[in-house]
Symmetry: C2
Subunit: 342 residues, 2 copies
DNA sequence: TTGAAAGCGGTACCAA
DNA sequence: TTGGTACCGCTTTCAA
């Protein structure tokens, strides 16, 4: 309840001086600063956020928009962002913008327009045109995590590369019958998934396996990958010898399906994912690592820089990912496609 | 950028009238209101959050504190909260307070003290005494999700009951050798886990199986449950015929471990969890359902009521959970403890 | 180095 | 039913 006026009174100075002493802006003698500080402490003074933001135009808050919080990647990015902001004393306001919901429309139409933040981080948002327009007219710095937007700065891994590398790993092991699992039919499709499929296709083409390209649709979730894989692997005749999952969640779904069906991984089926999910180790999943937490912290740094020092050109931070070989992939040689059991 | 003054000017009224017309407070003729509305629309007027909160003392924001966002339960609760707030036009500020981190200390010492919210929802926080003290001195309504706190209103399932019911289900199937997996050594231990262990113990006692009580420690995660279960199930002689997981994540870890070891579920091992996790169906897990999303929305309703109409007595909302029988539990009769294979 | 005072953009009381 | 005006609590010129 104590305001800066009381702090000033107690320290025997004016509000102006108290403000300067506390915020570290402008000239204040060391002695006074000390006195003001002590007064503030004694009174348990906490500045009123509303007043500060009214006076300065800064909210000390960063907005985060994402379509999910309950998927590994998003939750990890969120944690990374949160940690960075915490260190800097900034608040985080979360907007959960699920595609195709009216809540999402409200977020773009109402919530974001309020500008209750100094900058915005958009994680895997994949805004459609109209949404993009809303975003840019906010007039606050924006950093995207994931995506290809020209409109904002971006932090992302090279999805095309990751999938290509994953596929090449399998090809290197002698596999030729390699399917790509995950992602919806091409029409309404996430950009990441497209990039990864493209990387897979490129690797297949480059190896002269263009005719073996096979894309199995599936929701990008563990249960989704599981269901799709039960289908795919059910018929021994159509079964590939290796699978690239669009992400670890799908790849793990595949492994679970394989175990369910008594197909041994990796001796009868190789599986590779992209992510290095927290469960990857438990399933001995070979994967292309990305560290979303670091993408989150990188996004914060980039955003704060753009807030402090207005937007020159857009920055594009492409993060490399490396192959982590565990035990879900094996050379083709040993495979007996007819052998279904563990 | 347009302020209420410009809206007022355009509508040919005073700021006061414009404010009343827009906020719906106080008398305004229909004609004027209409005129003001139109003016606001034309100008794309959006009130400044800082000014509003300075003037009214309300932030139109709800704070949410939780120790994790990357675990199923927490993410679901968060989504429930988010959805409710979205409908009401309220912002959500997230505080990620991981136990034992210095970030957590900062949250309690600095962030929460700023009161940048009209009310607070604490999800599975399990505050220690000093933290609790901080919480109460904020002087804003607080609702807890999970927990037993006397200090705040609470929304939670009856954990003791859920675990008891789960255990009774197994006992009813003829199992006697039932272990409880999950939770740290008693010392620094989450309240939920304690309650659930207690429920398990009670059911065992009531069935005259007190001497069979067995608590296997494990991190409350899927990989944690997996690792602990590999240990537990590895030695056929010590192997129980059934397991109660402290939550679905642990129970699923157990199932995965069992499959890994070639122990068939449910014919050689019954497993029951608590949650009805999104993966429960995929693993055919029998479980006691809770719907965290609904706990989130309930918490919002409770909190808003307390904000609107100050805190009479603390409310305690205990949500019942029901048994969902899938295919991870089976009668004891058929079990041949010696038979390890699928 | 410090203080007085004018905003920042609304809300709400009091008169008219 | 409407308008004038005093705040809300802090920052920031501008003078002293």
């Amino acid at each position: 309840m104590a305001g800066i006026a009381e702090v000033a009174a107690r320290a025997g100075v004016s509000k102006a001086t108290a403000s300067r002493a506390l915020s570290g802006t402008g000239y204040v003698s060391d002695a006074t600063r000390e006195r003001v500080r002590r007064a503030a402490d004694d009174l348990g003074y906490v500045p009123s956020a509303g007043a500060v933001s009214l006076a300065t135009g800064r909210t000390q808050t960063i907005g985060v928009v994402m379509p999910y919080v309950n998927r590994w990647f998003f939750a990890e990015v969120l944690e990374g962002i949160q940690r960075s902001l915490l260190e800097r004393g900034l608040d985080l306001t979360l907007y959960d913008a699920k595609p195709g919901t009216e809540g999402r429309a409200r977020i773009f139409d109402d919530f974001l327009a309020r500008k209750r933040f100094d900058g915005l981080i958009a994680v895997g948002l994949e805004p459609v045109n109209q949404e993009l327009e809303r975003l840019t007219r906010i007039g606050r710095p924006i950093v995207s995590v994931v995506g290809d937007g020209e409109e904002t700065s971006v932090v992302a891994v090279d999805d095309d590369y990751a999938a290509r590398r994953a596929t090449e790993h399998l090809i290197g092991l002698g596999h030729r019958d390699i399917a790509f699992v995950g992602g919806a039919p091409e029409s309404h499709w996430a950009h990441v998934d497209q990039q990864r499929l493209a990387g897979y296709q490129r690797a297949m083409n480059d190896a002269g396996l263009a005719d073996r390209v096979r894309h199995v649709h599936s929701p990008v979730t563990m249960p989704g990958g599981y269901a799709a894989s039960v289908d795919l692997l059910g018929d021994a005749r159509r079964r590939p010898s290796a699978i690239v999952g669009v992400c670890d969640e799908v790849a793990i779904g595949t492994i679970i399906a394989a175990r369910r069906l008594g197909i041994s991984v990796p001796s009868a089926l190789s599986v590779v994912g992209i992510d290095d999910h927290e469960f990857a180790d438990m399933f001995a999943l070979t994967t292309l690592q990305q560290v979303p937490r670091e993408q989150g912290t990188a996004a914060v740094e980039l955003l704060l820089a753009e807030i402090a020092d207005p937007p020159r050109a857009r920055t594009r931070l492409r993060i490399p990912s490396r192959l982590i070989v565990r035990n879900s992939t094996a050379p083709m040689d040993g495979i007996d496609p007819g052998a279904p059991l563990l």
